[in-house]
C-alpha cells in the first residue's frame, strides 16, 4: 500500500493550486492522492419545514453534482497523469472533516489551499487552514 496524501478540493483556484502541489509531490514520492470534497454542514443549523422535507433529495443532488462536476474530472485527469487517486465527498465542518478523512485513510499528510482572506470574516469565523493547523493529527501543508 502506497503512502497517501489527502487534498481538500472544492474547485476554487486555491484548491486547484493545492491539488497541483499534491500531484507533484505524489509523482516525486510515488504516493496516492485522496481528493476530498467537504460540503459545509452542521446538524445544528436551522431549516424551514419545507427544507426538512426536501433535505434527503437535496443531499442526493448535491453529492451527485459534486461527483460529476468536481471529482470525476479530477479522477480521470490524475489517472491519465499516472497518479493513483481516490475521491470522497462528505458533509460536515470542513476542517474537522478533512482531519477525520486523513485519520481514516491513514494518510501521512494533508494539503489545502487558502482563500487568502485576512479580513474581518476570517477573524470572526476562522479559516479552514487555520483550524486545520489546530485540529489535524497529520502534518498540514497550506498552499498559497
Amino acid at each position: 500500500m502506497s503512502e497517501k496524501i489527502v487534498v481538500g478540493y472544492d474547485d476554487s483556484e486555491a484548491s486547484k493550486n493545492a491539488l497541483a502541489f499534491a500531484v507533484d509531490l505524489a509523482k516525486a514520492r510515488g504516493c496516492a492522492v485522496v481528493v476530498a470534497h467537504v460540503l459545509e454542514w452542521s446538524p445544528y443549523s436551522f431549516l424551514t419545514p419545507e427544507e426538512l422535507a426536501e433535505r434527503h433529495a437535496r443531499r442526493k443532488e448535491e453529492l451527485e453534482r459534486a461527483e460529476e462536476a468536481l471529482l470525476a474530472p479530477v479522477r480521470s485527469e490524475l489517472s491519465a497523469a499516472g497518479v493513483e487517486v481516490e475521491t470522497t465527498s462528505r458533509y460536515g465542518h470542513i476542517a474537522e472533516t478533512l482531519a477525520t478523512i486523513a485519520t481514516e485513510t491513514g494518510a501521512k499528510q494533508l494539503i489545502v489551499g487558502r482563500t487568502g482572506q485576512s479580513g474581518l470574516s476570517s477573524r470572526i469565523f476562522g479559516s479552514v487552514a487555520g483550524t486545520l493547523a489546530q485540529v489535524s493529527t497529520v502534518p498540514v501543508t497550506i498552499v498559497p
Binding site: 446538524p43 431549516l47 419545514p49 426536501e54 433535505r55 433529495a57 443531499r59
Partner: protein, 514 residues
Amino acid sequence: MKNAIKAGALGLPLSLAAAGPAAAQSIDETVNQIFASSTGWFVSLIFSNFPGTSFPWIVMWLVVAATVFTLYFAFIQFRAFPHSIALVRGDYSDPNDAGEVSHFQALATALSGTVGLGNIAGVAVAVGIGGPGATFWMILAGLLGMASKFTECTLGVKYRNEYEDGTVSGGPMYYLTKGFDERGLPAGKFLAVMFSIFCILGALGGGNMFQANQAHAQLSGVLGDYPGWISGVIFAAIVFAVIVGGLKSIARVTEKVVPFMGILYVVTALVIILMNADKIGWAFGQIFDGAFTGLGVAGGMVGALIQGFKRAAFSNEAGVGSAAIAHSAVRTKEPITEGFVSLLEPFIDTVVICTMTALVIIITGQLVADPNTGLYLLDEGASTIQTVDGNKGVALTSAAFSSAFGGFQYVLAIAVILFAFSTMISWSYYGLKAWTFLFGEGKTTEIIFKVIFCIFIVIGAAANLGPVIDFSDAAIFAMAVVNIFGLYFLIPIVKAELNSYLSRLKSGEIKKFV
C-alpha cells in the same frame, strides 16, 4: 353594506384614499362582523360544555388523552428524558448520515412552529382570565402533553411517505390512513380527510390569523394606533414573497434569528425573576393557591384549570397532530427516536417558556388584587382580571417586561413579529400538506392554498382579538378531536416499537457513535 359593495365595484383604492381613516376603521369593523358571525357556530360546537356544567368537553378530551398516553407508556416523558437529550445531541447519529435532517433540526423546526405568540400572548390571556393558578394547570398539561407528542411523532415518522425523488410527507393524514389499514380497522381514510380539513382551518386560524392579529397589536402598541388591515397587507406581502415567490432568504434569516430571540426572551425573563428573587416564593404561592381556589377569578378553580389547559394545548399543540408533520422528515431508521426527541417540545415550550412568561406577569404585579382579601379584582365584564394599565393579551406581557426593563417593549415587538412570521411559515407548510393530501400534489393546487393563506393574514390582522382567538382555538382543537381518536387505536403499534427499541438499547445492539 350595499354601498360598500358598490364602492368596491367602483374601485376600492380610490374611495379609500378619499375617505381616510374613517373608512379604514370601518373596513376593520366589517371584516370583524362578517368573521365573527360566520364562525360562531363552529366555535360553540367545539367549546360546548358538558351538559349541566361549565366545563368544555374538548379540554377534557385533550387532558384525558394525555393522561392515558402517560399511563399507557408508563411515564415515558420522565423515563426517556435523558435518552431524548442524548439523541438531540447526536450521540446516536451515524456520521455517514451527515447532511441529512438531524434530530436537532427536526426539533428546532417543530419548535419554531410552536414557540411563538402562544408563549407570549397566549399565556397572558390565560393568566389574565384564569389568574396565576392557570399557570399550575398549564405546567401540568405541558408535562402530560409530552406523552401525546411522543405518540404522534413516532407514528408520523413510521407512516410517512417517502417519494422517489427523495422528498418526504408525513403527518396524521398518513398514519391515520396507513395505520388503520395495517390494523384492519375501517374509516382510516375518512379520519384522514377530516383531519386534513381541520388542519387547513387550523393553519388559517391559530397558525395565521392569531399570529397576524397579535403582531399587529404589538406594532400598533409601539407605533400608535392604526388600522389592522395595513399590517395585514404588509405581512401578507412578505409571506407571499416567501411561500409563493420562493424567497428562501427571508425564511432563512428568520429561522436563524428566531432561536436567538427565544433565548433572549427566556434570559430576560430569568433576569426579571431573579431581580425580584424575594417574590419568587410568593409567586409560586399564588400559583398553587390560585390553582385550587381560583383566588376570585371568574369560574374559580375550574376557570383557572380551563384557561391553563387551553393555553397549554394551544401553545405546545400536543395531541393536535401538527408536530407530526414537522418531525417526520428526520433521517432515522427508528421512528421511536423521533418520538423521544419530540417529547422535549412541550417541555421547552410550555414547562419552560410559558412558565417564564407567567412568572414575569405575576412577579411584576400586573394583576390587581384586593389588598384586604387577597382576591383578584375583575373588570366590568366580570370575566377578566383587572390589570394595572388595563392591558390584555400580548400588551400585558409587554407591560410586565417593560416595567422591569424600560424599552423592552421594542425588543418584544420585534420578537413577536419574528415569532409570528416563523409560525406562519411553519403552518403554511402544515396546511399545504393537508391541502395536497385532499386535492393532490401539483403547482396549481399549491398556489391556490398559498393565496388563500395570505388573504387570511389580512383578515386576521383586521379582526378583533375575541373572534380570532375563538376561531383559532376551535380550529386547532378540532384537529385534536380527530387525531386523538385515531391515536387511541394506534398506540399498540407505538408500544411494540418502544419495547423493541428499549430491549435493543439495553442489549447494546443500538450503540452510541460518540
